[in-house]
């Protein structure tokens, strides 16, 4: 409860800091996704490794589910974004 109260009236520098951190996380995930896609493309061009491509796909999907779709919010009681 205390935490929530803090979130409703945040001090501006703290908010700016959290915001910057959120943007940074988004960028890092994008870079990771781009690298994985590049690997995927290379693997796909070099042969017919269906299993390897599936595993890379699962990693990419996992990144998106965790960091972009916040799947963990389903299990949290808290309303907003951590």
């Amino acid at each position: 409860m205390e935490l929530e109260k803090k979130r409703t009236t945040p001090s501006t520098p703290a908010l700016a800091q959290k915001r910057a951190a959120a943007y940074r996380l988004g960028t890092i995930v994008l870079i990771a996704l781009a690298v994985l896609t590049a690997i995927e493309f290379a693997v796909g061009r070099s042969g017919t490794a269906i299993v390897a491509l599936l595993i890379i796909g699962l990693f990419k999907a996992g990144l998106i589910l965790q960091y972009y779709m916040h799947i963990s919010l389903l299990w949290s009681d808290e309303g907003g974004h951590g």
Partner: protein, 190 residues
């Protein structure tokens, strides 16, 4: 699916219900797309048609980039940055439309047509069903953008934005699996 509840407690309760409901919808849709994915392997086996690899990589990158901007928009409204929120939404929608142009305008104008055996059926079935979802996502984004422009969302109350964002990411996740299934897996038949 959101509702404008009278108190914050009501809102949070409804928010948790909404979130679960939307994820259940994703699970349901996963079976639809999963059915198409399995059909691809059932009919194509270890083969695939020759497709424009540059185009495939380009539209895949566009969609990933759009997910980045969608996330940025959601993070922006969650942290009271209205300007970034609205701009990022517009960029996301633009990238989504670019993706649709890539699929409908270029991929669908290639040498394979829908009635060309299992190659045509599966290629158009998978990209068509996915493109339909991208289109609905773009419309969703534009609705959210319009409401955001009128100041309807706050850092505390933005379920509409969140729903739109995770729906968009979900459509991206589907493409994460569809792209290799169509473009990279199996040996090319010439």
């Amino acid at each position: 699916m959101s509702t404008i509840a009278s108190t914050m407690a009501d809102y949070r309760h409804q928010l948790r219900n909404n979130r679960l409901g939307l994820w259940l919808f994703f699970i349901s849709e996963a079976f639809l797309f999963g059915g198409l994915f399995v059909s691809r392997f059932y009919l194509w086996g270890n083969t695939r048609p020759e497709l424009d690899q540059t185009l495939g990589l380009t539209i895949t990158s566009i969609l990933l980039l759009s997910s980045f901007f969608m996330n940025r928009a959601e993070m922006a409204i969650a942290h009271d940055d209205r300007r970034t929120f609205l701009n990022s939404l517009l960029i996301t929608a633009a990238l989504g439309i670019l993706f649709l142009i890539g699929v409908v305008g270029f991929e669908w104008r290639g040498h394979i047509r829908p009635w060309d055996g299992a190659f045509g059926a599966v290629l158009f079935g998978m990209t068509g069903m996915h493109a339909l979802h991208v289109l609905s996502g773009v419309i969703f984004i534009l609705i959210v953008w319009n409401n955001g422009r009128k100041g309807h969302y706050s850092s505390e109350r933005h379920w509409g934005v969140e729903a739109c964002a995770i729906y968009w990411h979900y459509v991206d996740v589907i493409w994460v699996f569809f792209y290799p299934a169509l473009y990279l897996m199996g040996t090319v038949v010439r």
